[in-house]
């Protein structure tokens, strides 16, 4: 009896749930194509509306965020354009067109970019981390990890030349450590930390979460920040140069 129940359940899932999943994905794809059509007609507001429907369905892809960023840019919303370019950069960091658009959009941010000075090796390491998506680093890590485990097993069973295994394993271990470090950086940045972008023209960052608080510094539209805490309608943010303050929740949008 039990077995029959399981079989029936599985059948129902395969019959209804899987096609429903595929249907929503197809709908999302159609909405993106519809948005592209509106974009090519220079109806940017309508294009944004179509793209946002896909976002509300919970789907994402690198080209989709790129197109959404373009639509916001053409609509004159620099902050949301940069936000979506950054989202796209997480999924397709090597895309040349995306890099060009993001750099151009960043160049239009008032008062330029406030950046934290890093050593050359830190810059190199972070640039390397930014060259890969989190999934690709995870995949590379997995391949290295499995290969290393296999070689360790072969070394234990002594089925090959010991010294060669030692050298290969040492090299592989070093690469694995680097990939784990890159993975840790990406994981912290994309999952643990809440990155955001200022989406209003100017936002005053206060010393305390209240309108009457003293302004510490001012954020301009398109400036990237990190959210560290929240309280009612206010969020505590950290700018790239390390300065922290409270701004209104509605002034930013999370990546």
């Amino acid at each position: 009896m039990k077995v029959r129940k399981y079989v029936i359940s599985l059948f129902l899932i395969l019959t209804f749930a899987a096609p429903a999943y595929c249907a929503t994905k197809d709908t999302a794809r159609l909405l993106i194509l519809e948005g592209n059509a509106r974009y090519s007609e220079e109806k940017f507001e309508e294009a944004i509306a179509e793209y946002e429907k896909v976002l509300s369905m919970g789907y994402e892809s690198g080209p989709f965020y790129y197109n959404l960023g373009n639509a916001y840019f053409k609509h004159g919303e620099l902050g949301r354009a940069i936000l979506n370019y950054l989202r796209a950069a997480r999924l397709m960091p090597q895309e040349a067109d995306l890099k060009a658009n993001l750099n151009y959009a960043r160049s239009l941010v008032k008062n330029g970019r406030v950046t934290l000075g890093r050593n050359w090796y830190a810059r190199l390491f972070f640039a390397l981390a930014d060259s890969f998506s989190l999934d690709s680093i995870t995949f590379v890590f997995m391949i290295l990890y499995f290969t290393l485990a296999l070689l360790v097993i072969l070394a234990i069973t002594k089925t090959g030349p010991g010294k060669v295994y030692l050298y290969v394993n040492s090299a592989l271990f070093a690469v694995l450590i680097i990939s784990v470090s890159l993975f840790a950086i990406k994981y912290k940045k994309e999952i643990l930390e809440k990155e955001a972008v200022c989406v209003v023209e100017r936002s005053d960052s206060k010393f305390e979460p209240s309108i009457g608080g003293t302004t510490f510094f001012t954020l301009n539209e398109g400036e990237p920040i990190t959210v560290t805490a929240s309280k009612k309608d206010w969020v505590k943010i950290r700018r790239q140069d390390g300065k922290q303050g409270w701004i209104k929740r509605t002034d930013i949008d999370l990546l």
């Binding site: 090519s40 690198g62 989709f64 067109d97 999934d135 995870t138 990890y145 360790v152 993975f183 003293t214």
Partner: protein, 613 residues
């Protein structure tokens, strides 16, 4: 200020002059400066009278300055050597103390020295009752927002050389950064909002000092040219300039004076930076006002036929050499267009030769003063007697009229080829030399959208958060652990014989017991007890690493030394006894005896396996 109110006072300085003084006197310059133009009633203004090129001028008594009392502070001597040339100066410093609020002016001053009179300009000063508005302390970021935030300390000025211009006419553009006693670094070329204008690249910036309303400024001047692309009332600018403002850290309230005075324009010295730096760097964004420019379209009447869009005021010259050639020999035409204007609009004046010449594309050279087209032409026949006239037409922006300059025709002599030679003209796909291209100006915009939606996935569905992926990560670790355990066990079995025998004992006993059970079911008592006896021998031999053949009931007693329970010893003895009985009185053995013996043996082996020996 009305001329009749001008207070002019002269000072005749009688000094013994020597050669050096007279040599310097030739380059004497007189400057009057103040540190600020707006002051509150309870504050003061520093007034400096500086004489460059001499240090021999004594203190000057100022006249009464309306709205102020004044006090002499003393002289300051300065000598600097720049590019091997010594410059000396003396500054007489005064303090002006406001006595009432209002708009006042330091009058123009006139100093007579060594037979020459040196004059200064009037300086307006505003005295206010309340505090003078200044940037709020602590709001460092506001420095960059507008010109007003930094008051008169740093600002940007955009100037257009012409308020009215024609489409594509050169409009000289100047962006000036004025800085007064501020440390500024990392100055980027200004960005100019130039919708409907084309902008050239900036020339190398100039740096100089300028006095504005009596306040000395360090100025960086960026020069370029703009060209209106479309007619209309256009707006050039605003210009925006990014730089970094260096401010002293507030924890250091001690301001050490510099031997170079308090002019901090070039930022703090290398020593400050090296020893931890007493300065903090803040991004500063200065913005100028925009400038209205009227761009007019070129008149459509009286346009010359050969007008190709050249704008400016030009002269046109035509040269040809050599003037005597053989058929097929090249003649170089040099068309020189000199003057002022947008040379990007000047194109090669066309030579209309009607098939008498083979004409090559010109080699173009351009500099600030002119454009030269060097064109190779080859006469095809001996009938050619002259190079036809060439006309260059342009629109003269100063007079607002089209003008045409015609040069030629130029007579030439074309000789026939010697006998046996024939005319061959090689066609080349390109011009004789790489033609100078007009500077290409690239537009800026974002790159178009992607047609493909890409690989859609659920938001936040990262591989590293997939449960199956996480579970997979344990497999290599488990495999490695299993391999280590397996390998160690394998090595011990090969190395440790007693251990290997002890480990194999229950397995072998199990096989023997199975055989015994078969004999029991078959009722073959002899075979059964042989199997039981063999089981006992092999098991005990393997378990205690003893020679198997020598194990009998007598040996069992020796097992007490292995700390075995006496009940087990008794059971073993009973098993051996049963085997002996069966061997000698086989007929008295029943199936129940066999079964009991087997159960006893299984129990003994089980207990021995459980016992910690």
């Amino acid at each position: 200020m009305a001329p009749n109110r001008k207070i002019i006072f002269c000072l005749i300085v009688l000094l013994l002059s020597n050669f050096t003084v007279s040599a310097f006197a030739r380059d004497i310059r007189f400057e009057v400066t103040v540190d600020k133009n707006k002051v509150s009633l309870n504050s003061t203004v520093s007034l400096n009278l500086t004489f460059y090129g001499t240090q021999s001028i004594n203190r000057i008594d100022l006249p009464d300055i309306h709205g102020f009392n004044w006090r002499y502070f003393g002289p300051s001597l300065k000598m600097s050597i720049i590019n091997g040339r010594a410059t000396r100066s003396i500054t007489h410093m005064y303090v002006l103390i406001p006595i009432e609020a209002g708009e006042f002016s330091v009058p123009p001053m006139s100093v007579y020295y060594n037979g020459r009179t040196y004059e200064s300009n009037p300086i307006p000063i505003t005295v206010v009752r309340g505090p003078v508005s200044a940037p709020a302390p602590g709001t460092k970021e506001s420095y960059g927002s507008t010109v007003r935030d930094l008051g008169d300390k740093a600002f940007l000025v955009l100037e257009a050389g012409k308020k009215k211009a024609y489409v594509n006419e050169v409009i000289p553009v100047t962006v000036k950064l004025y800085v007064n006693k501020l440390a500024i670094k990392d100055i980027y070329p200004p960005m100019l909002a130039h919708r409907k204008f084309s902008i050239d690249e900036y020339e190398k910036p100039r740096q100089y000092k300028e006095i504005l309303n009596g306040i000395p400024y360090d100025v960086i001047e960026f020069n370029t040219n703009a060209f209106g692309n479309r007619p209309g009332e256009l707006t050039l600018g605003p210009a925006e300039l990014k730089c970094s403002l260096l401010l002293r850290r507030k924890t250091r309230n001690r301001r050490h004076s510099s031997i170079f005075g308090d002019d901090d324009f070039f930022g703090p010295g290398a020593f400050d930076s090296f020893f931890g730096g007493g300065y903090e760097k803040y991004p500063l964004n200065l913005k100028s006002e925009s400038v209205p420019v009227t761009v007019a379209e070129l008149p459509i009447e009286f346009v010359p036929n050969d007008f190709t869009g050249a704008l400016g005021n030009y002269q046109f010259y035509l040269e040809a050499s050599p003037k005597e050639v053989k058929v097929g020999d090249p003649i170089t035409l040099k068309l020189v267009i000199a003057g002022e204007g947008n040379f990007n609009t000047v194109k090669n004046p066309a030579l209309r030769a009607d098939g008498d010449f083979k004409i090559y594309d010109p080699d173009v050279k351009q500099d600030e003063t002119g454009k030269v087209f060097e064109q190779v032409i080859i006469p095809k026949t001996v009938n050619v007697k002259e190079i036809p006239a060439v006309t260059f037409s342009f629109f003269d922006t100063s007079s607002g009229k089209y003008k045409s300059i015609t040069r030629g025709p130029m007579p030439i002599k074309v000789n026939p080829l010697p006998k046996g030679e024939e005319l061959i003209i090689f066609e080349t796909p390109e011009g004789p030399a790489g033609a100078a291209r007009a500077r290409e100006i690239f537009g800026k915009d974002i790159i178009y959208i992607k047609d493909s939606p890409g690989l859609l996935k659920k938001r936040g569905a990262f591989l590293c958060r997939n449960k199956l992926f996480i579970a997979l990560q344990f497999i290599p670790i488990l495999c490695v652990i299993f391999t280590i355990v397996f390998q160690r066990r394998k090595e011990r079995l090969e190395r440790d014989i007693p251990y290997a025998r002890r480990l194999a004992a229950p397995r072998k006993a199990g096989r023997n017991l199975k055989r015994a059970r078969q004999f029991l079911s078959a009722g073959d008592s002899q075979q059964f007890f042989d199997a039981v006896f063999k089981t006992l021998q092999e098991y005990l031999g393997d378990k205690f690493h003893l020679p198997t053949a020598g194990i009998t009931s007598n040996v069992v007693e020796a097992l007490r030394g292995y700390n075995i329970d006496s009940g087990i010893i008794d059971s073993l003895k009973e098993c051996f006894g049963n085997c002996d009985t069966a061997r000698y009185a086989q007929s008295s053995i029943t199936k129940e005896d066999m079964s009991r013996t087997l159960t006893l043996l299984e129990g003994v082996i089980d207990k021995l396996e459980r016992a910690k020996i």
